[in-house]
Amino acid sequence: MATQRDRERFSALIRQHAGIVRKVATTYCRDADDRADLAQEILAQLWAAWPRYDEIRPFTTWMYRVALNVAISHVRGVYRGARHFVPLADEHLGIAATPADHEARDELRMLETIIAELDELNRALLLLYLDDRGHREIAEILGIGESNVGTKINRLKQRIRARFASPL
């Protein structure tokens, strides 16, 4: 049974790293309702896994593992129907502060296009890289070798360069 102190500590850590839940939910769900569902599901599994969290390990690594596992299972529809990734929700395009902010809008469109074209595991790799996680942490989260992370990121970079060499 979690104590009040446990709950407070958990809540404080989640608030501090809430960006991880948001970014994972955004990477795997475009629809706002679906995204909110996924965020709640991630929080639920984080809370369920919390008693087994080993404090000597980095909290962000642990949080990313749970969040990505839940998100990939959510998209794959492990125990429900498979969900389809719908790129470019209009609300996301609202990121551009003004209609004239074409550059931000174009970059967002590119990010959405890249995410939509990747499978679930490469999407996780992309997110971790864009969120500035080091190779060692990415390797620990995904469960692959550190050198393998470098190889995969280089491949991802080449793929994106080739993809956007010609205009969208």
Binding site: Q40, A44, A49, R52, S73, V78, Y79, K152, R161
Partner: protein
């Protein structure tokens, strides 16, 4: 266009979403109950049902063969078959539950996704095996049922009829299985796909594809 250029885009998107909807951590316990319901718990509960029904089936089988031990006949053999079927159901349920119990969401992503795909595959294969075997299982089940409910040995008047009927059902299932194996071995993908559509639906194919995706990501 470089990948690194998109780091700022992701952060801008996150800031925007943060403004739109703050993450409600205070509702986490309610979410935990709902989230776990929609996660692996229903599947784990389904395995408990499978084990319970398997135990009941095994008991029916035992009652049928135990009651005819002195004069072994049709109900005796049927009882043993029903007993074995019940044990198989218990085993399938226990194996799938053990696979589910081995899943820790905080494990490395590749490992957990591989385990989840295996759970799904085991669940689908168990369902198929238990379901498909009813093509022949209805015969011993009926023999054991008549014996236990009415004390009647329906095999006794014409044992050979029941024997041939059972052999026919088993042969039909074996022929389908062999034909499927032959089509797979000789690369007749259209036939294999038609079989998969008819018998396994999309679930087994999807579980297999997920396992293959995970293996490819790990290997490449």
């Amino acid at each position: 266009m470089e990948l690194d250029d998109l780091k700022q885009t992701l952060n801008r998107l996150d800031r925007r979403l943060e403004e739109q909807a703050a993450l409600d951590v205070s509702r986490v316990r309610r979410a935990a109950r709902r989230g776990l319901e929609s996660g692996l718990r229903p599947l784990a509960r389904a395995q408990l049902w499978l084990i319970a029904i398997g135990a009941l089936t095994a008991l029916i089988g035992v009652a049928a063969w135990h009651g005819t031990m002195e004069r072994p006949g049709g109900p005796f053999v049927a009882g043993i078959v029903v007993h074995a079927y019940g044990v198989a159901m218990i085993l399938f349920g226990a194996i799938t539950r053990a696979l589910i119990a081995g899943i820790d969401w905080a494990g490395p992503v590749l490992d957990i996704q591989r385990r989840l795909a295996r759970v799904r595959k085991a669940h689908v294969v168990a369902g198929l095996t238990i379901g498909m075997s009813w093509c022949a299982m209805w015969i011993p089940a009926m023999i054991a049922g008549f014996y236990l409910l009415f004390g009647v040995d329906i095999v006794a008047p014409s044992p050979s009829t029941w024997l041939w009927m059972t052999a026919g059902c088993v042969a039909m299932m074996a022929a389908v299985w062999l034909f499927h194996g032959w089509a797979r071995a000789t690369g007749r993908t259209a036939i294999v796909a038609a079989f998969d559509r008819a018998f396994t639906g999309p679930h087994l194919r999807r579980a297999g594809a997920e396992l293959a995706d995970t293996a490819r990501f790990d290997r490449d």
